[in-house]
Symmetry: C3
Amino acid sequence: MATAISILAELVGGRIIGATDISISDVAPLQKAGAADITYLEDSKKITKLKTSTAGAVLVAEANIAAAQAATAAVLVVVKDPQAAFVQIMTHFRPLRPRASIGIDHRAVIAASVKIGDGTNIWPGATIADDVVLGKNCDIHPGVVIGPGCRLGDNVTLHPNCVLYHDISLGSRVIIHAGAVIGADGFGYRFVQGEFIRIPHTGTVRIEDDVEIGACTTIDRAMVGATVIGRGTKIDNLVMIAHNCEIGRHNAFASQVGFAGSCRTGDYVRCGGQVGVADHITIGSQAALGGKSGVMGDIPEKATYYGYPAGPDMEQLRLHLAFRKLPDLRDQVKELEKTVKAMQKRLDAEQSPPQRDAA
Amino acid sequence: MATAISILAELVGGRIIGATDISISDVAPLQKAGAADITYLEDSKKITKLKTSTAGAVLVAEANIAAAQAATAAVLVVVKDPQAAFVQIMTHFRPLRPRASIGIDHRAVIAASVKIGDGTNIWPGATIADDVVLGKNCDIHPGVVIGPGCRLGDNVTLHPNCVLYHDISLGSRVIIHAGAVIGADGFGYRFVQGEFIRIPHTGTVRIEDDVEIGACTTIDRAMVGATVIGRGTKIDNLVMIAHNCEIGRHNAFASQVGFAGSCRTGDYVRCGGQVGVADHITIGSQAALGGKSGVMGDIPEKATYYGYPAGPDMEQLRLHLAFRKLPDLRDQVKELEKTVKAMQKRLDAEQSPPQRDAA
Amino acid sequence: MATAISILAELVGGRIIGATDISISDVAPLQKAGAADITYLEDSKKITKLKTSTAGAVLVAEANIAAAQAATAAVLVVVKDPQAAFVQIMTHFRPLRPRASIGIDHRAVIAASVKIGDGTNIWPGATIADDVVLGKNCDIHPGVVIGPGCRLGDNVTLHPNCVLYHDISLGSRVIIHAGAVIGADGFGYRFVQGEFIRIPHTGTVRIEDDVEIGACTTIDRAMVGATVIGRGTKIDNLVMIAHNCEIGRHNAFASQVGFAGSCRTGDYVRCGGQVGVADHITIGSQAALGGKSGVMGDIPEKATYYGYPAGPDMEQLRLHLAFRKLPDLRDQVKELEKTVKAMQKRLDAEQSPPQRDAA
């Protein structure tokens, strides 16, 4: 489905620099784009990659026109936000499947007391228990299980086989991916006479508007009160959020991150993959944690930490540089020891001149 | 549902110190409790937190009365086990949903040969294959799949969408949370002529009484014999237990822990989150592993290990303290080198006095 | 079901050394085998374990006969490949459940446009959406959800409750274990005016022939193009493969490994458990990564790396040995400082003889 560059430019409100009569047939990343593809220049750091790109056309920002022209002979399409324009053209060439409109399938298992908003789809094989309230335009896919007492806002998508235990609340536009489990009992026991006795978890999970939760991620319910995921926060696959955590707004956690119980984060906190956070830790707003960090203490606002145990980035950098030179340091110390021993011998020789016989 | 403190005290067999006529309306943790809440003092270490708590009433042990009185003006309720009393009052204010009594739903898919004990609930959407035996008072939730030949004890709870492969055995009072997978084939292959050839896994998984297994945790079946989870052991979410592991009794593994194949643990072993254990490792009874440890060798009884690679705690502490001062050490060595060089010059100067011309 | 050793030897094409009239009733690992069990000697490194084994019979390779005879009085069965012979005898004593032949159950939910190859089983509770094509002899277990537009080859096994999102393609002989999720949207957002805006993921996942994917593993779809898992690659449980990764052929990843977006691996790459790989990393063919490694840069072909951050094995070994002696090094440096200070005093004393009064 080749499209004239002029039509694409119009689609994204862009200005063409170069040939206006070429045809584009797909989008592609900078490095994979060919003569019939359009790509985009995210920022000026990518200029070197642009030089070797064989893309037919490139979306660029006003500020990068000169640099782009120096780097490539491709047609430029000048736009405000090249990434946004790229996404728009991507869905022109690769249209998303439209949202289905199946209504409520009779093969779903839905308790009589469930309230369902207009425009909501419920697939066969979904199970919805008593006293659940679903908002408008939700999508409840096959195999989803919603426990009694749950409350969902509008435009919520629950992908196949995800599970909400009882009394969970989700805001609007929440997306939960396949296999995720929300509201299992927290991992809390009393240790009595050599046995672990389960502590009942009477709390819940509250997931605010615009949160997205990845496949097979698990978020446990609170003992008292609620485990909270703040508005706009995005959580990747296979993440663990333990009981009573209170995650702030617009956080982003990559996959396999784990938070132990009762942690709190501010807003705009970012975690790389496989980060682990011990229980009762507080992480300040806009803090960033490098991948695989092991966090054992509170983290101040806006700080960047990494390592195991995690520390401030500049300190960690200094430590790691020193660490990499540790074998050299050992050699230096050995050398010094030799030198000092030799000096000591000279000193001793000097200060104790050959003794004459006492005879 | 405010309740007189005297009624609560009676409920937990406690003695009131202070006003006996106040009313309490909920439980709350020490730090979040307000004037109408009751909280508890876990142990004397929490006294400082009690000082700033605004709780209306506090459950305390006999031993901590004096300290508590010095720290707070709140009404005290003296009990043997404050945490147990707190849990009891918690479920007074926040009653748990009663166990359902739905019997066997006709929309479940149950093979004709399945035997089912009295009082067992089987929800719509559960699937139970041939030759399965279920004990009494089990709860088999929607989307659960039980493979052929499985044996379940009494009072077993299988939460939604968890899966038992064929021929798995579960003791009584076992709880398996949503999305967990028990008995998938172990990750074992023969490498023949450049290809991995699957080794059939003819063994099983045996889960003993009172075990609890978290959401999306996976426990693989043995090649021969059984992967075993010992009585009373509690496993959190997203944990991996590989084929042929034999986990002892009353272990507690936090989330995202991974055991490679054929490991053995004694009783009362504890693992923090994200611990990884290499294959064929033995961990002695009562050993404790710090969060994110990477275990590559056997661990003796009662030892506490952490780090990557994991080592005994005191040794690790010493190493980490030294590590944190590594940049200082480098500076010290540089300084020493300078000093020694200067000394050497002085020594050289002394020992080789200015030479006269040989002429 | 005791079997004469002669029959077992014939079964695996082996030659008996020792008593030909004994009876064997089961297989067992070297260390657990008793007098009625047959075991195998994998290679000569296991000879010490053979010495303490009480096995009645042992499968050995030609090359290890003499060593085995010196180590044990057990009957030997000489074969080309002892492990393969062991597996064969294992399934003699412990026959695998035969593949079911249930055809297409009427309680499965199958869209009218789905095409299904001969010999394929579809269990009750499976859901298959529009425009799906299934090959021959596939097994689609209960609770499996296959999204619209998916293409499956022949002999594919989808274990219970695994999920394929829309438009995924699987080759032949692919095995996907329970709870795995293939094709969820990649974790990609644009950050605009303080909010994360989802980037639509128009790409797919392509899983080639003979791939096996573990329980609760998640493989995300690409933004454009495909996330690829190459032919013959084996992936354990709870692994994360992010959007746009291109994994080569015959890779083997142990459980809880995580690859961030757009990584590439060659063929025969191996990862121990809990390895984490940052985004856009390239790993050369035949590279091996030790358990729990944190990979932050490209890895050359055939290299063995481990550690966090990961480095070449010999370098890491050197660093870790130095690290373990770090407290000793500090002591050495302290000692040196003392020595040098003392020497300096001596030097000073020598070079500045006691001054007389200037008077």
